[in-house]
């Protein structure tokens, strides 16, 4: 999806949002470390082997996981494959246009993928069926239908929920034939529940879960992925301005607390 038309944020809004933050307030009355209302449902798409619908505030993503049999990569012949793809649908925002994925869409896919991969959410070793020949390839498709800021956290939360909801048919090999038994489904092997928290830097403060209005005003952004045991598994800085060490360390320690809270929403 191509994001065209540079969206111009009026200076007056920039100023008012920034001044609010400097006074310890946010436009929607939240605390700096407070998420918007989150809802998470799983199993919303029957045709997908795993699915979830996640809402953070008005941001909404529908996620489907579809496993397919495929060949492994030649450098990892004993490991399954996970592919993450994001569609920033033109229905999600007035400035999103249809077309091949643009840099924002690719960044979202890759950061989500990194958090899930490095967080070892899926036990890819167990997805090998015939070494070097047949493995499960899990396609994770993120359909962004409503964009109101902080896609990253919604994407990771929904993706992990969709993967936890995913069922695979059992496989067996008989006489060099691969038999997929859809009558006996098993859950996708899940190791961990890595989740992500994103902070926006506005007025020298780091505020969690930026709304669209705050994203338009922020000077920098930091997303931190944290695994179930509290270690860091993925990070991504964005935005035009730098961050200092104190800001980063503060975000990391807060992300640890906040992802633990998000984890309670998982099925």
């Amino acid at each position: 999806m191509v994001i065209n038309m540079v969206h111009i944020v009026p200076e007056i809004i920039k100023e008012s949002v920034t001044n609010l933050v400097k006074n310890g307030e946010r436009t929607d009355g939240r605390a700096f470390d407070e998420y918007r209302e989150i809802s998470l449902e799983t199993g919303v798409i029957e045709k997908a082997e795993g699915s979830a619908r996640v809402k953070i505030g008005n941001t909404q993503i529908v996620i489907g996981a579809k496993p397919q049999i495929g060949a492994p990569f030649s450098d990892t012949p004993n490991v399954g494959v996970l592919m993450t793809n994001t569609e920033l649908l033109p229905m999600a925002a007035p400035n999103f246009e249809s077309g091949p994925p643009d840099e924002n869409s690719v960044e979202l896919s890759r950061v989500t993928d990194r958090c899930i991969r490095e967080g070892k959410v899926v036990d890819l070793d167990k997805l090998c069926i015939v070494p070097g020949e047949k493995v499960w390839m899990v396609f994770l498709d993120l359909h962004v239908v409503d964009y109101d800021g902080n896609l990253m956290d919604a994407a990771v939360l929904g993706s992990v929920a969709a993967l936890m909801n995913t069922k695979l048919p059992t496989t067996k090999i008989e006489d060099d034939e691969l038999i997929l038994d859809y009558d006996n489904m098993i859950p996708l092997p899940i190791n961990d529940t890595a989740l992500m928290s994103t902070f926006a830097k506005i007025g020298g403060e780091m505020i969690i879960d930026p709304s669209l209005e705050e994203e338009e005003v922020m000077v920098a952004r930091l997303s931190v992925g944290i695994t179930g045991d509290g270690s860091i598994c993925a990070m991504q800085k964005g935005g035009e301005q730098p961050l200092n060490k104190e800001e980063i360390l503060k975000a990391v320690s807060l992300a640890k607390i906040k992802t633990a809270e998000l984890r309670k929403l998982l099925p």
Binding site: K47, Q60, A65, A92, H143, L178, I179, L180, D181, Y182
Partner: protein, 242 residues
């Protein structure tokens, strides 16, 4: 290596002889429509019918940046139909294919006659139809949802276009084909109408029908449209009151 798939409930919910869930020949699948489900879009609607789950969103009337499409005396209505990769049994590759391009075209032509485009010269009304799950009849579901989204966006219209298919399955002319009935059936006839006048804004057919069967199917589909039309009105009333 040969891959063998064993699955005894492949046809679960839809048997081939007789209709699934004891559906009568002129009976629609269970459905629900909800208006105003998205925050950013100017208008939106969510529709479920049978196993179909469809989202529609409308932006506009807004400035048209593609100069060559601009009409000096009226707005253009552009429609994009798209299927989610997870909406079908075998993952669909994202992005447009020939089928979705065709459906986009006929959907915008189905909706156009109902909209007072002449009120908005040089602008565009963009309609996005997103199929989240497909189970036969997604184009009709998409057009029906798109009309509700247009109404939700407050776009002035002569009528709310509504779409429904009839066809022939297992030798009988039936209303609202399911996925199995469509695949194994003999004919499919999706139509869209403006229910106040009964004028037809979309008509497609594939398969084999005699002239009598065609007339029967057409009447059946028109009746189906009228029932769905009431659901559309209900969705708008639920959102905005009477």
């Amino acid at each position: 290596m040969i891959i063998i798939i064993t699955n005894t409930n492949l046809n679960s919910g839809t048997e081939t002889s007789g209709r699934a869930n004891n559906r009568a020949f002129d009976e629609l699948r269970n459905m629900k429509i909800e208006a105003g489900v998205l925050e950013r879009a100017d208008g939106s609607a969510y529709l479920e019918i049978g196993g179909n789950k469809v989202l529609a969103a409308v932006y506009g009337p807004r400035e048209l940046f593609v100069r060559r499409l601009m009409q000096p005396n009226k707005a253009v209505l552009r429609c994009k139909y798209n299927m989610a990769p997870f909406s079908v049994d075998d993952r669909k590759r994202p992005g447009p294919d020939r089928r979705s391009v065709e459906i986009s075209k006929i959907a915008s032509e189905a909706l156009t006659p109902a909209v007072f485009l002449e009120k908005f010269p040089r602008s565009t009304i963009d309609v996005f139809i997103e199929v989240l799950e497909a189970e036969g009849g997604t184009r009709c579901a998409g057009i029906t949802a798109a009309s509700v989204a247009l109404a939700d966006a407050g776009i002035p219209m002569r009528d709310m276009v509504v779409a429904c298919a009839a066809g022939k399955s297992d030798g009988k002319v039936v209303l609202d084909l399911s996925e199995i009935e469509d695949k194994e059936g003999e004919a499919d006839l999706p139509i869209a109408i403006m229910p106040r006048t009964g004028e037809i804004t979309l008509l497609q057919m594939d398969g084999h029908l005699t002239e009598e069967e065609f007339e029967q199917a057409l009447d059946l589909a028109i009746n189906g449209c009228k029932i769905i039309s009431e659901e559309q009105k209900k969705a708008i009333k639920n959102r905005y009151g009477d």
